[in-house]
Structures are given as C-alpha cells and as structure tokens.
Symmetry: C2
Subunit: 278 residues, 2 copies
Amino acid sequence: MVEPFGLRLRERIDAFGPLCVGIDPSRIAIEAWDRTDTVEGLEFFTLAMLEASIEVAAAIKPQVAYFERFGSAGYRILERLLSEARDSNLLVIADAKRGDIGATNEGYAEAWLRDRSPLCADAVTVSPYVGLGALESLFVAAQDTGRGVFVLAATSNSEGRLLQTARTDEGERVEDFVLRSVAERNNRDDGLGTVGVVLGATRERPAFDLALLGGPFLVPGVGAQGATPSDVGRLFVRSARATVLVNIGRGISGAGPERSALRDAAQRWRDDLSNCLS
Amino acid sequence: MVEPFGLRLRERIDAFGPLCVGIDPSRIAIEAWDRTDTVEGLEFFTLAMLEASIEVAAAIKPQVAYFERFGSAGYRILERLLSEARDSNLLVIADAKRGDIGATNEGYAEAWLRDRSPLCADAVTVSPYVGLGALESLFVAAQDTGRGVFVLAATSNSEGRLLQTARTDEGERVEDFVLRSVAERNNRDDGLGTVGVVLGATRERPAFDLALLGGPFLVPGVGAQGATPSDVGRLFVRSARATVLVNIGRGISGAGPERSALRDAAQRWRDDLSNCLS
C-alpha cells in the first residue's frame, strides 16, 4: 500500500516545518552568484540550493522553466536533482504548471507522477484553464502512486485577478470554483490530500472556506514578491494550517552562493514561518 | 530584420494549405503501430509523422507531453524533430501549454522562442490562467525573434466551458476577454500576427469578432474529437480565414504506420480543409 501524499507531506511538515525551498535557476540568479549561465552554472546553483534545504525544509520546488531553457541537457540536471532529493528525505514539487485536455494529461502524468519516469516527482503543479474535469487522469495517477497535484487557484501576481475572480454562470468566482472542485475531488475518494491548490500569499482570503479543502496548500508570494510570514498566518485559520507549505526562493538564494549563508537564510525563514503558522 | 510570425505563417498556408499535423506519440498511438512504448518507438513514430507532413502541411504540432514522458531522452527526440522540421520547410508549433508568472516566463521564452535553445520552435502554446499581462515576456520574445505564441482561448473539450465562459467583473466572458486582449496586443505593436489563439472547432463562435484578432488561429477538435472541416468553415467568416491552421493528429496517425498511407491521409485532410476554408 502506498501512503497518500497528504499524509507524507504532513509528516515532513511536522518534522521540519512549513518551508518549501524554491529552486529558481534563472539567468539572473546564476549570474548573481558569479557563475556563467550555462548547464554547469545551472547544476552548481541547483545542487547548492538542494544542500541548503536538507533537514531544514519539508520540500523543494524546482521551477521547471529554468531547466527547460537548456533543453534535454537542462532536464538531465533536473533528473539529477530529483534523484538526489529522494535520497535526502525531501519532497519535490515540480513547478511545471502543466495541464491539457483529454489523453494528453496521461502523458504529463507519466512524466511527473509515474515511478518509471526519470522526472518522477512527489507532486506537480497544474493549471486549470482547461477545466478541472480535464485534469482527472493526473489526479488518478497521483492517487495511485501516493503522489500529489497542486492546482492553481489564486496566483500571487496581480495580472491573474481579473480572470480568477470572474464569475461562472452559477455566480461563483473562478478561484472559489477551483477550490470547491478540489475539495469535492478530495472528499470523493480516499486520496487523503492527493489534490492541493496554489494560493498566493499576496491575495485576500477567498470566499471558499479553506479548512474544507481536504488537501495541502502551496503558498508562493512571500519574500521577493512582497507578502510576509504574518500574511500567511492571516490567510489560514488554525484548522487549515497542518498542510500549508510556504515557498521561499529568492529570499534564500539571494544570500548565496556561500553554503553556510544559504543554510542560515533557509533556517531563518523556516523559523519565521513556523512561528506565524503555529 | 526578422520576418514576423504572422507573415511567415500566411506564406506557408498560401503555399501548402491550412493543415497542421499533430504529432502525438502517446503510448496508445505507438503501440497501435506495433512498436513498443520506448524512446525508440517514440522516435520512429515522430519521424514517420514528420515525413508525412513535408510539402503537404503548413506546420506540425508536436505535443510536448508525450516527449516529456521519457524525460531528457524524450526531449532529445523532440530536439531532433525540431531540427529536421526546420530543414524541411515546416513551421513547428510546440504544444506545451506553458505559462507562469513574472520572470518565470522569461525561462519559458528562452526555452521555446530564443535562437540559442535546442528546443527553439516557431511558436509555442500558452495557458492564460495567470492573466494575459503575465505572459508579456513571451510575447516580447516572440516579436523579437519573428516567432509566435498561441494563447488558449476556448479549448475543444467540454470541461473547459464553465471556466472559459465565466464573466469578469466587467461582464465579459473569459474567452472573449482573452480574444480581445490578444487583439489589443497585436494592434499595439507592429508584431504582425505575433500572438494567436487556440479555438476549438467543437465550440460555438465567441462573441468577439474573430476578424479583428490580428493574429493566427490554431484550431483543434477536428477528426477524433468530433468536429468536421465544415464546422471550421462555419466558425470563421471569410475575412478571418487567411491564418487559420487546423490541427489533425489521430485522423492521420490512425492510417499508419505505412508511409504512403500516412501521406495519403494527410493529403486528404489538407484538401478537405482547403475546400472548407476557401
């Protein structure tokens, strides 16, 4: 029997706190460490961020776009990261924002959620523009394998608001529709937190009662994007906090490249977040 | 000076007709050709579909999910496809449905739209859940390099309707908001068709006047998904037809693996589509 994703995540958060380290090897981030923006620079940045996360963070979140910049050679570095994170007791959320219609999502499920794939992660982020029903094969694959899917609900950027607060013909806002559909999906089967959502810390609390989600929250927007750990505390009532994972990327990488400075920064964020979510 | 994407696409459509061959190497498709679902099977399927498209289609649309299933090894096959298509006078639309916030899209732009990338294509599909403004760096990169971006507007699946027909606070449907925003983006700069949209042939004609888009249309949903070439003809008034590209995937691959049968199927679809869009 595979242990469901929600339980695995809660165990890690209990043990290490709510920090998720965002690994964002952009050109700018790599060059800020006085490295060249090459596959070698990508590898150096990635492995240093991984090392800083071990036994400090519950999870890491590599941003797939920055690996994809280098094509198959960049994906080889991502594969190495996935494999080393697995050996280091870190959950990996592949931040890929995937999502398509029909059978295509079986392809994405095979890529990110199936054991035999070299890109297999603990969870993957997906975009719901194609409709929640279209993502079902990803949810099924995650449930089968004890992995997770995080669906974008309210993103941390301001440009997303207009679309995400549009109202369906039933009068529900799109972000609430996503939250409610995920809650229904989590309650329908015994997936125990298979489907989570992405909820920006820069946004107001949605109308939908977050304590009813039945799945984890991935919260970007803290640090460089302007929200604080206290904002996250305000977003979630106490009963919704057990599986809240807060992403910090530039707030940690900005302290690098020195290993001990990276680790100190990660620990400070972990402690701040733990205080605000306890 | 780089020739804008809209012009390059129109030239191909004038020369070869409106067919875009969908290259969808799913497990099911590969096994239907009596090949094993391995990297070798992926390569065989992909190159046979490419060969059937040369001088019959204006463009090909590889579905990136099916390459990603094999991780970096699958991406190496996609890179080979991109390079061989370039030598064969075919435009390539990478069907990746990418899209994220802020600087992350610079990563996706580098991956899919910049010359130095091994994954560089002529255009890439993107998802607008994060807001149209968030995608600006992709539009800028496309304009700089004479490449294109296709934004999901109304997808061909039924599950997408509820979200895509939700109304913004100004009372506009999400799909119309996407179409209007793309039209404004195309009119703002001299990108000449840099930004296109994905519009399913299975959907009704949106309220927004398609003739005003100022960019190309990528139309899925014909064939296996139920719509016909006549449905595409009904969707577009004559003045909007110059840059309509209709994707056919399973309708062609289902005739394989024999090379001449694939080519015959592609030619039949091309002729049918040309008739309905003339």
